[in-house]
Amino acid sequence: MSAVIESHHDDHHHGPAKGFSRWLYTTNHKDIGSLYLWFSFIMLFVGGAMAMVIRAELFEPGSQIVSPEFYNQMVTNHGLIMVFGVIMPAFVGLANWMIPMQIGAPDMALPRLNNLSFWILPAAFGVLLSTFLMEGGAPNFGWTFYAPLSTEYAPPTVTFFIFAVHIMGASSIMGSINIITTILNMRAPGMTLMKMPLFVWSWLITAYLLIAVMPVLAGAVTMMLMDIHFGTSFFSAAGGGDPVLFQHVFWFFGHPEVYIMILPAFGIVSHIIETFSRKPIFGYSSMVYAIASIALLSFVVWAHHMFTVGMPIAGELFFMYSTMLIAIPTGVKVFNWLSTMFKGSLTFETPMLFAIAFVALFTIGGLSGLMLAIAPADFQYHDTYFVVAHFHYVLVPGALFSIVAAVYYWLPKWTGYMYDEVLGKTHFWLSFISVNLTFFPMHFVGLAGMPRRIPDYAMQFADYNMIVSVGAFLFGLSQLLFLFNVLKCVYYGKSATAEVWEGAKGKGLEWTVDSPAPYHTFETSPDLTNPQTNN
């Protein structure tokens, strides 16, 4: 028995294996984190290319570049890829990299499961993208795949779409089980729940949301599969079902999903703002309670996506007021970020620029969300570009900016090298200007009545749409600069110190280890029970 234990101790001191098989067989949280992040990065360009096709088609009124059928496929897959293939995997990648380091754990709790959670993701998206080559073309019913568009009127590839969604869901559920187990079971001694870094807190709650709602999505697509192929009538009123039922089941998943894509961002931004303000975060415990209340409320607001579907008035009122309640904890968070910066000694490195832009622009998205929450007003806004503007403001300068900020913030810790600050700032300003150029005018065309998901539009929207398209192309190109900066950092970067940022002292365990972080960071957990050793 002792021989076995020794050989296993040897394994522990191994660096990464050589060759490509390292990535296939790895159980290391850092390797798997990198795999998630690179996968998400690649999918960002795939989904981004689809957005470019959409904006090229909408550059001028009239039908010019793609057929309406193909346009629908672009809109659908752009949404699916950005939600399930970019934002979610990027956050899981960050969780993989940072959570064990931030809580002083040797690795994720279930390392082999961790590998499986990642590798089924490229499989699912491989299937989804391969539907473009199949008879009938790729899914074309929008990323929300409302029945009966996705059942009775769907292309035959919908079957592959359904199974691909199942696999994505399995990936998320397994990943979340791993994250939640790691956080609850693997914290260093002395790290009580209310001493956990906010990124860890945000992920604990996000993982809970994921385990709660991804199975509901699996249920929804299973009902679709049965309706399409096995004669059931969940979503067919002719058999006593109801197409609106689909929307209820979908949005019961979909609304918590919206917070799944933003809560980890809250954690990231809190870390970055406290580091570059050289102050501890203002109102730590209220931050935790705010995240928890947002998560709980997210289960009782889903029907605000369906105000125009014909709900009883009591439903409209309930979902209107419950939605507005979410503004309170969200407001607490924005207030705390501003208070953290107040009288701080601020510096504006690239991560901080992205984080500040996040606070400002996410708030714009939040406020337009509040407008949409007003049921009578929503009757006008529903299915217009105002909605498109709203959710792109929370997802692009919201979730995506926080991911970019996190990459700049932790890249020196991951690679051991600094990125190019001038390039980083250029990337920021180009992104900041172009993102607003892209999404701000959408508010105006939306309020004026331009419908979403249509490849053509009335003449009066032409000027704004041209501006939007120019902004979108610029935003797309700017992200190549991001790729270039990451590669430049990896291959030609200057060495980074262990602490990396001047303000990072005492801001978490990840800054106490070398840069790059050793392949196995905490083989024995640091003891935090004595407060002197921590700060």
Binding site: H14, T27, R112, V127, I173, T182, A212, M223, A237
Partner: protein
């Protein structure tokens, strides 16, 4: 037997990538098989079958590796706690999967069907099929040509005839089996291996009887009641809810069968029997779902 103090992290593993490969095969296999239903020259079901073989094979090797590692004493108490967390959250995810179907049934019964029948605020839906009358169980669908309703339903009969009602026996089996597996665990914890084996066999027998009775019920539904998947929303919810439950009973029975075989071969000790405990939690979960299901699908 845990002697290891540090947390075991395998250096690398080939198992997950094979599992991922089997799922990739599964998606193409299942997708093409379903899309090709009714075509005679299709070979896509072979992809599906091979995906299952690869999946089961990988699972076999995965679980045996975990058991071997544990027998070598490589797992610390902390790692065992991770397994407990993992299994608990997995069961929670399963609960939420069933929740989707309970939600659907609730929506259909409380809102959709009454509205189609002209009731309440949204009763205007009645103009789609004027004359349609709402009832539950829904025996006549709005469009009876497309979704021919059933002749009979599965609802609870008068109490005097309860012994002719299969779900009654099913409930009895499943609830009893939840008790017998608890007895098996208790016997194991006391070191009474004979009692442990006996109660495991009793649990399995009851579980298999449940599966058989459920199959008989489905046969009756299709052969004599006109109750099919295509019989409208009553048949839809009935088959999907009892079907997914039955599928989970089968999974649980497979898990417990393996645990029983392992038990007969001398596995598990008084203190270390997580595999069995996890299987038993799963079995209790299946039991609880059944009780809720009997209430909303059969009784009320």
């Amino acid at each position: 037997m845990s002697s290891e103090s540090s947390y075991y992290v395998p250096a690398s593993s080939k198992l997950p990538i094979f599992m991922a490969l089997s799922l990739l095969l599964f998606v193409y296999g299942a997708g093409y098989t379903i899309n090709d239903l009714g075509k005679e020259d299709s070979f896509s079901h072979w992809i599906l079958i091979s995906s299952f073989l690869l999946m089961w094979g990988t699972m076999f090797f995965w679980f045996s590796e975990v058991i071997k590692e544990n027998d070598k004493g490589m797992y610390s108490d902390q790692l065992n706690t991770s397994f407990v967390h993992g299994m608990s959250w997995f069961i929670f995810s399963e609960v939420m999967f069933f929740f989707a179907f309970f939600l659907a049934l609730g929506y259909v019964r409380i809102f959709a069907v009454p509205w189609l029948g002209g009731e309440g605020e949204k009763g205007i839906a009645n103009i789609l099929w004027p004359g349609f009358e709402a009832s539950w169980p829904l025996m006549e669908t709005p469009d009876n040509e497309r979704f021919p309703g059933a002749h009979h339903n599965m609802s609870i009969p008068a109490l005097s005839k309860i012994h002719t009602w299969l779900p009654f026996w099913n409930t009895l089996c499943l609830v009893t089996s939840s008790g017998t597996i608890a007895l098996a665990e208790a016997a194991l914890k006391k070191g009474n291996r004979k009692g442990f084996k006996l109660w495991m066999v009793a649990t399995l027998t009851l579980g298999y009887i449940f599966v058989v009775l459920q199959s008989v019920e489905y046969y009756e539904a299709y052969a004599h009641m006109g109750l099919t998947l295509g019989a409208g929303i009553y048949g839809t919810t009935f088959f999907l809810m009892t079907g997914f439950h039955g599928f989970h009973v089968c999974l649980g029975a497979i898990i417990l069968t393996i645990m029983t075989i392992r038990g007969f071969r001398g596995a598990f000790s008084e203190h270390e029997h997580f595999g069995l405990a996890a299987g038993s939690w799963y079995w209790h979960f299946v039991d609880v779902v059944w009780i809720l299901l009997v209430l909303v699908v059969y009784v009320f």
